[in-house]
């Protein structure tokens, strides 16, 4: 038999955003114990996602020499970005170095799961003497990626919509050990509402553990004071305990102090690791005691890549789009968000129908009245015509008759003797003047 733990039938008031259109929609709530099968949907998604593959667009921004390319290459275990040796160029244009946007793509396959990676860099950032506007090109790039997505989703044919939006924004902070500089704050403030901002302390092997802790503390205070939002994984409280713990650990590492290295070195105890060898020891990339690289990678790929993308699509992009369309003067119509209600629909149709009937009636009446009055006028006119023509003719004839009669009388008078018996004019009462109608 039907087995369910709880059966609640509650009318839920679906409130649409601003209009306060309250609709009572009856929703049956049941918990099923038997086998139905829709619980398999996440598994279907799992399979489907492997077939479709994944993608990620990372933007890595920071001054030159902070090891951006190395870190990206270390993150993905391969040489995605070539190290830029632009020493000569830097020397040439000393006053203003223009910021350029560079896009590098790579496809990575791990155990049959494919990731299409897109790394966006901004070489030249922070290298001018006056860096007042160097953030502008970066913001423009983020915006134009949103714009082209907006354009693509508004197109009639959307069979090929490429998502080029920035899903994660790695900002490299110079390991000064002091606090954030004005340029850092300006840039982060410019982008934090458009991207998932993930600040990292680059080349953290130049700071001691204590220094890092203090530096992180100061950065976090700055970020908080400036109201800068950084990416936070949401809604993990219901996960398994282990996952929750791990997520909390990831969060505790903000802003990640990392070192990158694709070179393998040998540790004193004979292990081959990725790291940097110094006379005083080896710093291991993949060692959580040495730096936060592993946690950063978990955040970016292993645990939260999909959430980075969801947040970009559902919140950051949506906000950008709303604001842009509002600025373009496109008015919000909240009536389209109503729950479909067959009864209301019927009433609506009835109202539409009645309006249509009324319009039809008015139109037909107008046409009818116009036609009738036209016809009436026409008939009246021809009637009047008829009478006036008749009167004219009659007057003319009457006149002629009168003339002739006079003449006749005259002629008869002239005749001294009536040669003939007077043409007894039979009383020339000639008119029947009464007209019909």
């Amino acid at each position: 038999m039907t087995t369910y733990l709880a059966e609640v039938e509650t009318p839920i008031a679906a409130t649409s955003i601003k209009d306060n259109i309250q609709q009572e929609v009856k929703i049956i709530k049941r918990k099923l114990n038997g086998y139905v099968g829709f619980a398999n949907l996440p598994k279907q998604w799992h399979r489907k996602s492997i077939r479709r593959g994944f993608s990620l667009n990372i933007m890595a921004v920071g001054e030159a020499g902070l090891g951006k390319a190395t870190l990206i290459n270390t993150l993905f275990n391969r040489e995605i970005l070539k190290k830029e040796v632009e020493v000569e160029e830097e020397q040439e244009s000393s006053e203003t170095v223009s910021v350029k946007i560079k896009n590098t793509t790579a496809e990575i396959d791990e155990d049959g799961v494919k990731l299409k990676l897109n790394v966006i860099t901004a070489p030249g950032f922070g290298e001018s003497v006056n860096n007042v506007n160097s953030w502008k090109i970066i913001v423009d790039e983020i915006n134009s990626r949103f714009d082209s997505f907006l354009e693509a989703e508004s197109r009639i044919n959307r069979s090929t919509v490429n998502d080029e939006r920035v899903h994660a924004f790695l900002y490299f902070i110079e390991p000064t050990g002091h606090s954030l500089r004005a340029l850092d704050i300006t840039l982060m403030k410019q982008v934090h509402e458009k991207v998932n901002l993930i600040p990292v302390i680059a080349k953290s092997d130049t700071l001691t553990g204590e220094e890092i802790a203090e530096f992180k503390q100061r950065i976090l205070e700055d970020i908080k004071y400036q109201g800068i939002k950084t990416f936070q994984p949401l809604d993990f409280e219901n996960d398994e305990e282990e996952t929750v713990l791990n997520t909390k650990q990831i969060l505790s590492k903000f802003p990640f102090a990392v070192v990158g290295s694709t070179k393998e070195v040998e540790t004193p105890d004979g292990r081959i690791v990725r790291g940097r060898s110094y006379p005083w020891g080896v710093i291991e990339v993949d060692n959580e005691d040495h730096n936060d690289f592993i946690k950063l990678r978990q955040l970016l790929v292993r645990n939260f890549l999909e959430e980075l993308k969801e947040h970009t699509a559902n919140t950051l992009y949506e906000n950008y789009r709303t604001e842009k369309l509002n600025r373009m003067g496109i008015a919000q119509d909240n009536t389209v968000f109503r729950e479909f209600d067959p009864l209301a629909k019927q009433e609506e149709e009835r109202a539409l129908h009645e309006a249509k009937l009324a319009k039809m009636e008015a139109e037909m009446k107008a046409v009818f009245q116009q036609k009738v009055s036209e016809k009436e006028k026409k008939l009246q006119r021809s009637e009047a015509d008829l009478f006036s023509r008749h009167k004219e003719m009659k007057d003319k004839l009457t006149k002629q008759i009168k003339l002739l009669e006079d003449k006749k009388v005259q002629l008869e008078k002239q005749k001294t003797l009536p040669q003939e018996p007077a043409a007894s004019s039979p009383a020339p009462t000639k008119t029947r003047k009464g007209f019909l109608r």
């Binding site: 039907t2 087995t3 929703i27 049941r30 038997g34 139905v36 099968g37 829709f38 398999n40 949907l41 598994k43 279907q44 489907k48 996602s49 993150l75 990575i108 791990e110 155990d111 799961v113 494919k114 990731l115 197109r155 009639i156 990678r297 790929v301 292993r302 939260f304 890549l305 999909e306 949506e318 369309l325 919000q332 389209v336 968000f337 479909f340 067959p342 019927q346 539409l352 129908h353 249509k356 009937l357 009636e361 037909m364 009818f368 036609k371 021809s382 008749h390 003719m393 009457t398 008759i401 002739l404 009669e405 006749k408 002629l411 002239q414 003939e420 029947r432 007209f435 019909l436 109608r437």
Partner: protein
């Protein structure tokens, strides 16, 4: 060997996100009444979601000449193994009950189109987080188990459905057909579907995955699914209950592949192909509707738009579709009222015409009389002229 990047874990992230978000699924059942649509829904979801229509009401409906096809929606949130689905069941009661069923599909077709249009309009709003989605992901079309073939009405409506929605034809109450009759009936239906170019939903064949491809193949071969539904359970062995229908000659089991295709259909709808139904609705049926609506299905139009300025292009597309088109109204009563109004005016026009004709006749009569009058005067004039002439002659 460096640590793995973590890419292999991405499908698990998707799994987790979907598990948390739950899903929305909208299922439409269409077909003549009395084919067990309500029973099937309750059987499929193992709960009495849909109430049976009041028998007396059914009777009343038969007596009225104009039974209106109305849309009935049941909304439910079902939870299975902690996974929540927001389920919408769209029923079209009474379809096909009229003597003349011409155009009786319009409410069903309109409903599907309306949901697409509503979703499209919501999607165009600057702020669109609370979208209501009633786009139909699958439409089950119930075929009467006549053993002959599809009726013209079936063909007409299936044609129209198949261009808008994932159409899944099923043979209802299949326990009235013997296995041989059923096979012949199925094959005849398949032939008609092919001959009439009706595009029914088929699960994708993923050839790189042999197990899944084999499963899809089995599903496709069983189409159209022959179904029986039942909410009753019978004990077949001590402690073992099955849902089925009990006859003096035996028990038909719902979940027995030898007896009917219920399990296959359930798999297609939920266990293996629910996602494909949802995605193909979104990516194919909805996109088709949208592109026709926005630009008459002209691919070039989209490209031309791209050349325009960014802002204008977006703005234009939005505005174009916001322009309201007058709705088609299909309620037979509406038509009647319209006809009555037209008739009323026609009669008025007739009455007026009659009056005008009389008037015209009067005018003609009057003219004749006046002419006669003039003629008399003319005659008199003539005679006077004669007399005067004579007198003048005499005078000389």
């Amino acid at each position: 060997m460096p640590e793995p990047v973590g890419i292999a874990n991405l499908p698990n992230q998707r799994y987790k996100i979907v598990s948390k978000q739950g899903a929305t699924f909208t299922l439409m059942v269409a077909g003549e009444s009395g084919l067990g649509k309500t029973t099937f829904i309750n059987t499929l979801f193992q709960s009495s979601l849909k109430a049976y229509q009041d028998a007396s009401e059914r009777h009343n409906k038969f007596t009225s000449a104009h039974q209106t096809v109305e849309i009935d929606i049941v909304r439910a949130i079902l939870e299975e193994k902690n996974f929540k689905v927001r389920l919408n069941i769209i029923d079209t009661p009474g379809f096909g009950n009229n003597v003349n069923n011409h155009d009786s599909w319009t409410p069903i077709i309109d409903f599907i189109d309306d949901q697409h249009e509503s979703y499209m309009k919501q999607e165009q709003q600057p702020s669109r987080l609370n979208k209501k989605d009633l786009r139909v992901h699958a439409c089950l079309y119930f075929i009467r188990p006549t053993g002959h073939s599809l009726k013209p009405l079936d063909i007409e409506i299936m044609k129209r459905l198949s261009t808008r929605v994932n159409l899944i034809p099923i043979i209802a109450k299949a326990d009235t057909l013997s296995p041989i009759e059923l096979e012949a009936f199925k094959s005849r239906i398949r032939d008609v579907i092919e001959a009439q170019d009706i595009n029914i939903y088929t699960p994708p064949l993923e050839l790189d995955d042999p197990a899944s491809a084999e499963h899809s193949k089995q599903l496709i071969e069983s189409m159209p699914f022959a179904i029986i539904g039942s909410e009753e359970e019978y004990e077949v062995a001590p402690g073992n209950f099955v849902r089925g229908r009990k006859y003096p000659w035996g028990l038909v089991e719902v979940e027995n592949d030898q007896h009917c295709d219920f399990k296959k259909l359930r798999s297609l709808l939920l266990r293996t192909n629910m996602l494909d139904l949802v995605l193909s609705t979104n990516e194919f049926h909805f996109e088709t509707f949208r592109s026709v609506k926005l630009g008459g299905n002209d691919d070039d139009a989209g490209n031309e738009g791209e050349k325009d300025e960014d802002a204008n292009e977006n703005g234009d597309v939005v505005k174009k579709s916001l322009a309201k088109k007058p709705r088609r109204l299909h309620n037979p009563k509406f038509k009647e009222e319209e006809d009555a109004l037209k008739k009323f005016f026609t009669e008025q026009v007739k009455a007026e015409e009659q009056r005008f004709r009389q008037w015209e006749t009067n005018i003609v009569n009057e003219r004749n009389r006046l002419n006669q009058d003039l003629e008399e005067m003319q005659t008199k004039l003539k005679s006077l002229e004669e007399q005067v002439k004579k007198l003048q002659l005499l005078k000389r």
